[in-house]
Structure formats: C-alpha cells, structure tokens
Amino acid sequence: MGTTQILIAGFGGQGVLFAGKFLAYMGLMEDKQVSWLPSYGPEMRGGTANCSVIISDESIGSPIVSAPDILIAMNLPSLDKYESSVASGGMIFIDGTLISRGIERNDVKMHNIDATKLASQNGYSGLSNMIIMGKVIKECPALGNAYVEAALSKVVSERHRNLYDSNLAAVTLGYNI
C-alpha cells in the first residue's frame, strides 16, 4: 500500500485527538512515515475537534487531509461536514448512537458502530473513540494490528496508567463486534 489518509472528527472531549495519536503511533511502530495534525484554537474547548492522520510508506508531503480514505465521524455535524470529502472507495465510520442517519454516498463503505451505547453498557464510559478504533483496525488491514498494545502504552500517559487496561479492552471490544 502507499498512503492512508485518515480524518477523525467530533466534539471536543470525545477523544478525537487521542484516537488520532493512537493510530499515528501504530504506524510509527510499523516503521511507516506518519503525521498527525490537530485543529487548534477556541474550537478545541468544547466545540468541534478534528485531526488529520497520514500513514505512508513514502515521505509525507502535506499533513493536511482534505480527501480522507477513512473518515471517522463521531457526531452528526462532523458527518455533515466531511462526508462529501471522502475519497471514492474510502470508508466512513460513524458512532451510530449519536448519528441517526446513514450516508448519502454510494461509492464509499459505511461502518455504523453503536459506540457510545456500547461504551456505557460495558463500563467504558468515555471510550467510544477507542471502540471505534478497534473496528477501524479490523476493517483496515493496511493499518496493521501488531502494535496495538505498544501504541496504547505510548499514548496513555504515565499519570493515567490505570486507564491503559480499559482502553485496551475498548479497542478489543470494537475489534470483535
């Protein structure tokens, strides 16, 4: 494969940037070129947040993802805003608990994950992002799955070590849906 361009979008607080960092670390550990670019500014504080992640075999030019191969929409405004930008043949992952509509495109594949509901049912409140990540890893073999634990241990900070297990469990849950 050449290059995978990923766009993750949602509300601030849904762990959009964290999920992106996790994917970037997985790529890094596969010895690929990676870049991670967040939206920043006032929108980080409660509004919409998004981040561009690129994982590639070649050196990365622009770190800005304008036509994602993979869109992860964690709320309706994000789907409304980015659905049309997804590259033909790409994939859209949505949190079905928060998004009631399907997609309008017929040249991309949608994966609907009831992530927020699954998270609260299984005691992983706040980890809907990682449940979706599990599904993303399952559906996108190009991302690899050898370094899930290693990447997680990089992105879960020392201070929050106790959250590592629940993050891993959430990813596993999403993977096995």
């Binding site: 960092k21 970037a24 670390y25 890094l28 550990m29 010895d31 070129q33 990676v34 870049s35 991670w36 670019l37 967040p38 920043y40 500014g41 990365i60 030019g61 622009s62 770190p63 800005i64 304008s66 370094y147 290693a150 990089k154």
Partner: protein, 355 residues
C-alpha cells in the same frame, strides 16, 4: 521498531533547546506556540534551569538580553503579534552582537489577526524586523524533525556569529506531530570573553552596549557587522532542491507551503510535466545560488506562500527578473491546497506551451 518518538513541533523545539544546553527560557503565552512555554515550565525546574513567564513579550526579550549578556544560551518564543513587541529587543541584541534564539510560530495578521498558520512575517524576519541596519538569521523548518534540527543549528549559528537567530515556523509546524529523533550533540567550543560575568578585578570592565553617539564610530560598527553578514551569506545559505535538474517550472516554497507543494510537484510529474521545487531552509540568508542555477533552465517560477506575496520578491531578485515569477497564495490563516498549486502549475505550463 523505531527509536523515534512522536512529538509536536513546538515540543520538539523545546526539547532540542534543552539538549542544546539552553537552560534559560522566558516567554509570554500566545497561541499557537504556548506548548513551548508549557514544556519548558515542566522541564526547566528539574534540570536546574530557569523558566520564567514574563509580564510581557517586551520583558521576556529583555530578560533574554540579560542572559545573553552573561554569555549563556537563552531563548524565547512567541507568535506574530508577540514578535512585533519583541522587535525592539531583537534590534538591541543585534546591535550588541549577542547570541540568542527567538522562535516565531506564525499566525495570520496584521494586527491581532487570527490564530491559524501563516507566513506573513517573512518580511519582518528577513529584513531585520526592528529599527536599524541589522539582520537575524532566519531558519524555516518544514517538518517536526527540522524543528528540532534547526534549533540545535540555531544555537550554534547564534554563538558562532554572535547574532540573534530566528526560527520562522507556523501554526501547522508547531501543532503537528511527526516522528523525531534528537541528534547526538556537542556544542561548539566558543570563547565568550566579551560576556559580563564580573571583572574579578582581573581585567577592564566589559560593556554590552549599542549606544554610540559618534556617527563615525557607529558607521564603523555597522560596516563591521555587515562584514559578518557577508560571511554568513557566503557560508550559511541552505535549501533543499527537489527534482530541479530538468525542471521547466520551479516552485519556491518554505515550511508548510513546501509540504503542500511537494504533493503538487509529484502530481504534476505523474502528469508528465517537468516541475521541481526549491525549498529555502534559511530565509535569510536567502539561497540565491540555487535559484540562479535553476533560472538557467527553468521557464518560470511559482512562489507558493501563506501570505500576500513576500518571498516572491526575493525569488524575483535571485533570478534577477530574467524569468517570470508567479504567486500562488492563501492568506489570513488559510493554507493553499495541493490542487490549488497544481492548477497554478497547469495554468503556467499551458501559458508557456501556447507561446
């Protein structure tokens, strides 16, 4: 697995500065560079260094001036409006021939402007920025790895030439994460016997000063400083050339604009167009030679910028107006897309074909 780590550009600058032996940081919060201050606030107390949040950008740059006078490695960082405030102090630092590192993670202007990425402080950085005849060495990183590498380089250049050095990044470079590996680094051995460390009653007093009321002497000191600048221009200009050997159209772009343009160059090549890129790494001194060489073969140049067109003047000067130089730009915090750059390439390719 790799030994690289993912870091934000801002953090890479901070960590590289620490590894380069900088133990003094003074700053004032401003988006999009505040991670540098936050990183320093966390790390400096643990390594017996100084992090101080100054009362203003003006105070911060003058604290830098104080530490630089004492002969120690020191830095400050800010974003566009804050750099304007620091410009007085930078002029003094240049006028006293002191080494210091100043980081500008640019945002859109003028005035308070916005907080999204911009390159519209190019003139300010490459023409000095404050009052008087002086330059700062302006370094333009285009990756997080370069944010680190050019920080090491910046401290060295500052010490070697006794001059302020500026890293001219932008919001994207500051905020994005990419893999970084810090280099093994030993600082150059530099004699700083000019520093004000106390006479110890063993020598005449040292004076750090830019006041000179006698115009003849002031003129001499200006000419002497420009001799130094001449050496810097001869020895320190840096750029990356990408597919320029056979290029009919050469793009000039730095920082994030170069990253975007690289996509467009690759796309154009795939379409059979001979397009290349020169990416200045030093904006001052400007890598004129590369442009002059490229102008022998190229039919046209395109300056891709996140500004209303500033570097384009240096490109035009470097090719001595022998070839047309076109502008492809966004401003105010917007970033050109690879498609926009490609469209400009196609437009110019069609123009020269129809001639």
């Amino acid at each position: 697995m790799t030994d690289k780590v993912l870091m934000k550009g801002n953090e890479a600058i901070a960590e590289a500065a620490i590894q380069a032996g900088c133990r003094f940081y003074f700053g004032y919060p401003i988006t999009p560079q505040t991670e540098i201050a936050a990183y320093m606030a966390k790390r400096m107390p643990k390594i017996s260094g100084t992090f101080l949040q100054a009362e203003s950008e003006i105070a911060a740059i003058n604290m830098v001036y104080g530490v630089a006078s004492a002969g120690k490695r020191v830095m400050t960082s800010s974003s566009s409006p804050g750099i304007s405030l620091k410009s007085e102090g930078i002029s003094y630092i240049a006028g006293c021939d002191l080494p210091a590192l100043i980081v500008n993670v640019q945002r859109g202007g003028p005035g308070l402007g916005g907080i999204q990425p911009s390159q519209s402080d190019y003139f300010q950085a490459t023409r000095g920025g404050g009052h008087g005849d002086y330059h700062v060495i302006a370094l333009a990183p285009a990756s997080v790895q370069e944010m680190a590498d050019l920080t090491f380089k910046g401290f060295d250049l500052a010490d070697i030439y006794r001059t302020p050095v500026m890293i001219l990044a932008d919001g994207t470079m500051g905020q994005m994460m990419e893999p970084v590996k810090m280099k093994d680094y030993t600082p150059p051995d530099i004699n700083k016997d000019w520093a004000v460390t106390g006479t110890k009653m063993m020598r005449e007093h040292n004076i750090i000063n830019s006041l000179c009321l006698d115009p003849e002497s002031l003129e001499i000191s200006n000419f002497k400083r420009y001799e130094k600048y001449k050496t810097i221009c001869e020895k320190e200009a840096m750029c990356e050339e990408y597919l320029t050997n056979d290029a009919d159209i050469v793009i000039a772009a730095f920082g994030i604009a170069a990253r975007v343009s690289k996509n467009a160059v690759n796309e154009a090549r795939a379409n059979g167009l001979k397009v290349g890129m020169i990416r200045p790494i030093t904006l001052w001194p400007f890598p004129k030679d590369a442009f002059e060489r490229a102008a022998e073969k190229a039919k046209a140049f395109i300056s891709v910028e996140l500004s209303m067109g500033q570097m384009i003047e240096d490109v035009s000067l470097a090719v001595r107006c022998r070839k047309p130089v076109y502008l492809c730009n966004r401003a105010g915090g917007m970033i050109p897309s690879p498609e926009q750059v490609l469209a400009k390439i196609n437009e110019i390719a069609n123009m020269s074909n129809s001639k």
